[in-house]
Structures are given as structure tokens and as C-alpha cells.
Symmetry: C2
Subunit: 564 residues, 2 copies
């Protein structure tokens, strides 16, 4: 039979229609991004799919959102909210309740496709400013009404699910940079500010804030265009340049929370020795202590012209691990981006770009970089020019010492190109009955390979499971492992059981249940085993202090006195 060109899959070309479930679960209702031909080849190879399988999709969630039961909100409470924020900022229609009752987990995506939304809030409120939040929380505390703070809904760990109660949407109005202070290198931001908007304002600070320099926020998660600053802090996010700039935890200098027992405003001292740091105690509380209304975060000089890029092929994953360890322990300054891909991710990255055949691959193979073994390393160095050059030069030297061959900075540029948009292919994949999901863990250097090999061999014991792994946030003491899973499960339940078994394995082998996605209800069941009972009790004591009646994000079961 003559070779023929594979027909293009019937990818959906239009965005999500207004009012549909799809418009709720899609990362962006207006945007589509299709998997490349390389991805389709992978789907066929791995899942035994045929061209025919790509002709008709499964449920794309085009039904209009409709709930079986209307809001149970007491009209008295509804009126109280209207009195505070105005009628235009209060909603209890089905669509609003579903939209602001969901995040972006695969679980929620799959359920919404099927029109299933069993747990939603009774009322959606869009506070205009801090004073609204103060009034709302005071009212809800007095009336023992549940409150769920909702940043921009990009979380993947089911952290904002609620059965009834009031959702406070910060994204709508509380999305401003209140000030930029170039003397103290800080900005005061409202929690609903989206990362990419924040960065744009800081890059343009001389114009927008009259500063003498441009700044950067230093925090670039893959969800950069989707996630809010409040979400970064609440779920302890890490950006792709965290190795240099630090995690969200490190970036927050001071904060203000409105809690059921009062307002907590921490002060912006660079360091103090006045007892345990309350500012840090609040970070990562995932809406369970109070509503974050303002954060003072570090900013950095923005000098993109100084950015150095490097990329290497290393003979093995082990060499990649040792090279990156040497780099971050080398005391010569830290790269901003640093990422190593295991052999499966490396091979697939090459294949997805069509580089797995042809002269480049032959050349690499001849040089001893064997397909199925080799490891891609990409990195950038930022900051002052000489510093960036030195960090990049030392990193290159170390990569070479570990057997690496330079691919030039172009490979890094290519990676940068897709760093925020790759996420948008998810809907196409799910449209055709496959699942793409991620699990991530934090490991010490000496436990890394145990977790890596243990988890990977468990994952690969399920036939037809793609598992690409990378490490992308580095510390002197260890790194993270980020597992991208792609599979075509029999049923969603089959996938969830499988995922659950993978998390069991991660925790059993000593990995953290999460490095930077947060805990949410998704990981809450493992928290006690992961942290230990005594540590959980500390978090529960804090929860009891801030929220004695359990009204703050009560759907998040992790810290409730009695776990569900």
C-alpha cells in the first residue's frame, strides 16, 4: 500500500460557546491549540488509535450549563451581599455557580464535559475592594455562612470546591497593582491580578508607575496567563525561573488577610527576630484561614537583553541529574530556568518536533547520545550582564564535564516558545477520550533516583501510558520531579484509580505529595501520611484559630477537625 498522508484529526476549530460547560472547563474559551503531527503519531503508536479514532470526538461539553437545583441561598443573605457589593456583583444563576465553583483539574474537566457538577456554591460575589471583603467576611462569620476565596480558577488540585456557600471572585475587580516601590523593590498587588498582566505592568513600570527602571515579577509558572497572584501564594506555586528568583513563598514580603477572627496585616520588614513569622504561616493556606486581599511582593530589575540561554544533550538522565546538582551547588550564582528531561521526555520532545529522524538525530546518536538514554538540559541565566554570562558559562562547563554536547541556546528558545501555550492542547486531547495530567513531587538529591525509578516503573507497568518526566525547580538540597501522564483510559474512573496508586507510590517512596501545585482536595487524603499527624495537628490548630466555625473554604477537607 502506498504511503499516504494521514488525514488531519477533527480537532475542534472554534472556541467554547457562551454559557456552555466547555466555556467553564476550557483554559481559554476563545483559544484553540492543536497537538502537532508528532503528538498524533504518539497517540497512535501508544494507544493503538487509528485515523478513524480522530474523526469523531467524544463529548466536548457544548451543552448549556443547567443545574438540577436552584441556589438554596437564603434571600436574606443574598440581600446582605447586594447591600455590600451592589446587585451587579452578586449572582446565583446556574452558569455563575458552575463557573466559579470549578478549577482546572482533569477531574473537573471530565465531569463538566458530561454535564456533571454536583457541588457548586449557592452565591457568587465579586468584591470590588478590600472593604467589601471585610464586610462580607464579618457578615458570613456572624451568620456562619461558608466562604470560598477564588482567585482566577486555574488550580489543578480541586482546591475551591464547595457544596453551597458563597464564592468570592477576586479576579473580577481586585486585580490591580496598587503601587510599585523601586527603593524597596516591592509591589503591592491585589490577589486577582493575573501573572502575565502583572508582568506587563512591571516591564512597563517607567510608564505605568513612573519608576526609573523596568521590573519583573520573577514568577513564570506554566499557568502564567491564567493564574492569579493570590493563587500563587495560596497554593505555594513555583515559576519556571524559580531556581533564581525563588518560589512564591519566597516572593511574599507581607500580606493582608481578612479572617473570621479579624484582619491580619503583616509588616514588610526584610527580616525580623520577633518570634515565628506569621507572614510565612499564612502562605499556602489555600483559603482555609481567610481571604487574601493584598500582598507586597518582591520585584526585580528587568533586563531581558542580558538573558543567556544554554542547552545540552547529556548521555543519560543520571548525567543530567549530576550536572544540575553540580550547577546549583556550585556557589557561582543560580540559573533562572534550569530543566532536565528524562529519556522519555527527551525522545518525545525530539519526536514531537520531528527531530527524531534525520541528520541531527544521526549525528547525536553517532556521538553517543543514544535514543532512549539521552537527556535534554535547557537553561537560562538572568540578572546583571556579567553575572548572567558567568552563570551560563559555568553551567556550560559543568554540562560538558558530565558528557554534555551543546545544542546552542536555540533549543532553549524553542522551549520558551511553548512554555505557556502548551497547556492549551489539553482540550483537544480530552476531546478524543485521552487524558493528559501532571503529578509532581519534591525530592532530596539522595532520594531522587529512588522516587524517579520507582514511580516511573509503576506508571509504565500500565501498558499504553506515556510518562514524560522532568526536573525544573532546583535547590542545593534537591529538586522537583514533574510527571506528565498521557493515556487513553477505559473510563475516567480507571484513570483516577491509577493516579491514586501513583500518588501512593510517590508518598511511599518519600516524595512530597506536591511541589508547587498545592494540596487541594485532590491530595488531602495523603497529607496526614506525608506530613505526619503531629504536623497536621499544627495546621489544624491554626485553622481552628483563624476559623473557629469552619466557614473558610469548608469544601477543602484537609484541615477540618473531622476529615471527610
Amino acid at each position: 500500500m502506498a504511503q499516504h498522508e494521514a488525514p488531519v484529526p477533527a480537532w475542534r476549530e472554534r472556541g467554547a460557546d457562551e454559557g456552555t460547560y466547555r466555556s467553564v472547563f476550557a483554559y481559554d474559551s476563545t483559544r484553540v491549540k492543536h497537538p502537532s503531527a508528532g503528538w498524533v503519531r504518539m497517540f497512535k503508536d501508544e494507544f493503538g488509535m487509528t485515523d478513524t479514532d480522530f474523526m469523531t470526538s467524544g463529548d466536548q461539553g457544548d451543552a448549556l450549563v443547567e443545574l438540577a437545583e436552584p441556589s438554596r441561598i437564603d434571600p436574606r443573605h443574598r440581600s446582605a451581599m447586594v447591600a455590600i457589593v451592589g446587585a451587579e456583583n452578586v449572582a446565583d444563576d446556574d452558569y455563575s455557580r458552575v463557573k466559579y465553583g470549578h478549577g482546572k483539574s482533569v477531574d473537573e474537566d471530565l465531569a463538566l464535559r458530561a454535564g456533571v457538577a454536583p457541588q457548586v456554591p449557592d452565591l457568587v460575589v465579586h468584591p470590588r475592594h478590600r472593604a467589601d471583603v471585610v464586610d462580607i467576611v464579618a457578615y458570613c462569620a456572624a451568620e456562619e455562612l461558608p466562604i470560598v476565596p477564588y482567585g482566577a480558577g486555574s488550580g489543578t488540585v480541586i482546591g475551591t470546591r464547595t457544596d453551597g456557600g458563597i464564592v468570592l471572585v477576586m479576579r473580577t475587580h481586585m486585580n490591580h497593582v496598587l503601587s510599585v516601590n523601586e527603593r524597596t523593590m516591592t509591589a503591592i498587588v491585589q490577589p486577582g491580578m493575573i501573572g502575565s498582566d502583572f508582568e506587563a505592568l512591571l516591564n512597563d513600570a517607567p510608564r505605568t508607575f513612573g519608576t526609573s527602571r523596568a521590573f519583573t515579577c520573577g514568577h513564570f509558572p506554566q499557568s502564567f496567563e491564567l493564574a492569579s497572584v493570590g493563587g500563587w501564594i495560596s497554593a505555594l506555586g513555583s515559576g519556571q525561573a524559580s531556581t533564581y528568583y525563588g518560589d512564591a513563598y519566597d516572593l511574599v514580603v507581607s500580606q493582608e488577610y481578612v479572617t473570621p477572627v479579624g484582619i491580619i496585616r503583616t509588616k514588610d520588614y526584610p527580616a525580623t527576630a520577633t518570634g515565628p513569622k506569621v507572614n510565612d504561616i499564612l502562605k499556602g493556606s489555600e483559603g482555609m484561614f481567610g481571604v487574601l486581599v493584598e500582598a507586597t511582593v518582591k520585584i526585580f530589575r528587568y533586563e531581558p537583553k542580558n538573558t543567556q540561554r544554554f542547552a545540552f544533550m547529556l548521555p543519560t538522565w543520571e548525567a543530567g541529574v549530576e550536572a544540575t546538582r553540580d550547577i546549583v551547588q556550585g556557589e557561582f550564582g543560580l540559573p533562572a530556568v534550569l530543566r532536565i528531561s528524562d529519556s522519555e521526555e527527551t525522545e518525545r520532545a525530539l519526536a514531537l518536533k520531528g527531530f527524531d529522524t534525520g541528520p541531527a538525530n544521526t549525528f547525536l546518536s553517532m556521538r553517543g547520545f543514544t535514543p532512549g538514554k539521552r537527556c535534554l538540559l535547557v537553561g537560562t541565566a538572568e540578572g546583571e550582564k556579567g553575572f548572567a554570562k558567568h552563570v551560563a558559562s559555568m553551567s556550560r562547563k559543568i554540562a560538558r564535564r558530565h558528557g554534555g554536547m551543546t545544542l546552542t541556546g536555540l533549543a532553549t528558545k524553542q522551549w520558551e516558545h511553548g512554555r505557556y501555550s502548551d497547556i492549551y492542547v489539553r482540550e483537544d486531547i480530552l476531546d478524543f477520550g485521552m487524558v493528559i495530567d501532571t503529578l509532581e513531587t519534591s525530592v532530596t538529591w539522595d532520594n531522587l533516583q529512588t522516587v524517579y525509578h520507582g514511580v516511573r516503573s509503576f506508571v509504565k507497568s500500565r501498558p499504553g501510558t506515556v510518562c514524560m518526566t522532568h526536573a525544573s525547580h532546583f535547590y542545593g538540597q534537591g529538586t522537583n520531579l514533574y510527571f506528565i501522564l498521557i493515556l487513553k483510559p477505559e473510563t475516567p474512573e480507571e484513570y483516577f484509580a491509577f493516579r491514586s496508586a501513583i500518588v501512593d507510590k510517590i508518598v511511599e517512596l518519600g516524595g512530597s505529595t506536591s511541589h508547587h501545585h498545592g494540596m487541594g482536595n485532590l491530595f488531602a487524603p495523603w497529607l496526614k501520611e506525608h506530613l505526619g499527624t503531629a504536623e497536621m495537628d499544627v495546621l489544624r490548630a491554626l485553622k481552628a484559630h483563624f476559623d473557629p466555625d469552619g466557614i473558610m473554604n469548608p469544601g477543602h477537607k484537609s484541615l477540618m477537625r473531622t476529615q471527610s
Copy 2:
């Protein structure tokens, strides 16, 4: 009258005798260090003292320690402790009770000189290991007996004072490095380990722990030869190289505490997103939550040959502040040591070394570095060779840009020479009725000058008060201000009232009550105003959780339900 050489003051030449009060309050019973002739000139000039005043000293605390009342410990409790740790590790003699009931505050020094020790423990116990501590805490929790964890007693904020109860001395036996892990760049240390001993072991790690490299702990407080690792963590200390290595807070990867409600062992993940970080919540708890029995701390490559030193004279304090701000915000890596001295400290530093007259001074003055205005900057850069060179070179460039003139690295070497031993002159000064004490605060860059000038002008409103100020721990967001006070008060009470008014002023102007000395009972009265009631309540809630019966360090009143 012909110029005559001033007679040498009648400094005490011998150490402290065994069993005396002096042996309790002296930093080191065997060591004496005298103020230089420059210091004596300063005392005479500032306090109107004459040679005669230096002929006879005040009370040197040579009386043998003797308490009016014997220990009130119930013999049953004493026996219980003996059963746990052995008779040789239990003491209730007067000397032990006084020795381990005191830290190194000026207040304690002055009281002890007069033989006054109104609050001491009933029993001193030296646990041998973790298991002893577990048994002791369990026993004390059941019997509601007060416990005070005591590291090495170098604290200056009256943080371990107790009226009765049991002191646990960690210094005696629990002073080992349990392991060094060069893959994860961590060491597991017991809390009673002294800084300089720890550093010596790490520097010699290839021999002591069979590692392939030598390491450094990165933490060099002035109390390096006196303070314990447990103390660093409990009181949130900062070392002189903290600008690069971080504060004690940053160094602790994981810890184990024995608390009245159980053992808390945090895990050594480099980062996690599993809710608020319990590991951080425990830091700075000053013995009020539990007994620290083990800490896993970061270590760093030790490459002293790479150290770069730089020193500059800048025209003014303002120029020094702006230069250091530029340095730490410059994104080219951070200096390890960085320190600027205000005009009074600069002038006195020159005078104390005899540099205030003669050709060097004339040269400086001619170049526009006017006495009474100029500002000394010293710094080092550590780490990998090229990195250290670059940081030093950029720092020099910035210092020059701010009008600085290089003094070469020799001035830094000179400063390094006295960095740990200067502290030992205190006893001579107190012997002659003067006081030397320090206050320190943390400030943001935009509030620095307000706090500096406000505090300084208040201090200088008292005639005959030497006040040397420096900033020595730098962050992108701000720095610390460290005030060294030297005066000859009418009475100790006059000094205490004065100091209290200075702290009032610091807090009023928005400085933190402490940057790295801890809070202790000395600063507890300001904590509520400084932190705010809602923040204090968070700390109190934690205290109530860990220590429901209030047995942990109950003399530390700051977090008790009812403040004394």
C-alpha cells in the same frame, strides 16, 4: 604641664574564679581582652572620666554564688530526673542554678555583679541525647513542671529566665554533628553544638566525615564562639555573612522538637506545596513550643582561598546606604559580608585604631572624606572564584560610583580580626561603671533614614552617650540598623529607662523590635505593638497548641495567655 603618658587603667588581668558570679556573667571565664588606648581616650572624652577613675573598679562579681533559698524541687521530681539522665547530670546546687538560669544580657551582668539572682531554676538537667529529652518532657508534661531549654546561654534578650522549674542544658552533651550529607549539602546537628566547633568540623569534613570536599556552615554571628546552633534557630539569628548565606531561618531544612503534645519532626524536602510550612512555624519559638533536639541545616562549599575583600571610604552615610542598596539590588550575586558604619562609628573606628590623626587622615580629609561625615564600607565576596571576583568587582564599581575611595581589602581584614573577640571587652567596661550594650532593628530601605536619624537624635539627646551605628545584613527590601551604645549611667536603672525609651522610639518610627537578637523578656513588652494584636494571637494560638499547660519556658512571658 608636660605631656605624660596616661597610666594604664587597672584592668583586671585574671579570669573569673571558679564558683563566682563573675564566672557566670563573663563571656569566657578564662579570657580577658582590654579596651585599647583609643577606647580609654573615648571614655575620658565622652564621660569626663579621669585616670583616677580607672584606678579602682566597681564590683567585679568575685563573690561566690550563694542563694538565699535552696531549691524547692520536690524530691520526687529530682529522683525522676536522676532516673532518666543519671545523678551526674542533675544538679540543684546554687551555682548550677544561677549559671544555667542566666544569659548574657547587660541586665543579667549588672545584677550578677551585685550578687542579685532573684529568678533561677530549681533543677538543672543535662540530657545526654534525644531519648532523655523525650522522657523528660513527657514527665514534666504529666506533672506540669516548667521546662526551660538552654542552648549555650549567649542570648542577650533575657530569653531563658525562670522562677523555678527545670533547665535543660543542651550544650553539655547534645553538641554533636550527627552526619554530613554532601549530596544534599546538609548536616544534622544537635542543638548544643557551638558555632565555631561546628564550623571547624565542617571545614575538616574530609577527615571528620569522609566527604570529598570541605564545607562551611555560612553562619558567623559575633557570638560565633559562644552561641549554639539551637540558639541560632530559636532566636532567629543572623551571621555576619548572612547577606550571601541567609539568616538562621533560611538555613534550617528540617527539625525535630519534643513538645508537651508530642514529637514534631519535619521532613527535609527542599520545597513543598502542602500547606503552611510547619518547619518554618517552629523557627524563632524561643523554647516556648518545645525542645529542639535536632536540626538539619544547609551547608556550603568551603573555599576560603576564593574570598575577595573590599573596603571603601564613602563621603557620607547617605552615600553608604545608597551604595549598599545598589549592590544588593544589582542582581549580580550578593556579597557575603557587607557593612556600612555611620559617621560616628567610622570616626571612632579610626580613632580606636589611632588613625584619626596622622597622614592617612589628612589624605582622606583632603580628598573630601570629612571627619564626622564619612562612612566606612567593608565587604567580602565568597563562593566560586569567578563569582566572588565578579561580586567584588561590581561592588567596588558601585562604591566608586557613589563617591567611594578604596581602602584596599586590608581594612576588611582588620575588621575580620576583631569580629568575634571584640565582644570580650565588655567586662572591662562594666568593671569601671560604664555600660556597653546593643540594640538592633530591621528597616525597609524607604524607612531607613527616618529610623536612623530619629533613633540617633534621641540617643544623642542624652549627653555623654556614644552611639555607633552600622548596617550589616542586607536584603533587596531593606537592611538592619545596629546601634552600639556606650555610656556611664548614674545607675543601672537610669540606663534601663533610657534603653526602654530608645526601643519606644524604634517601634514608634516603624523599626522592628529585633532583627536578629530574638525577642526574649527584654523585648516582649513591645511585641504586641510591633506585631499587632491579631498576629500575637496567632503566636498565642500556636503556644496553646504545643504547650496547653504553659510549661515550656514559662518565664518568657510574651506568648502566655495573660501577660505579666
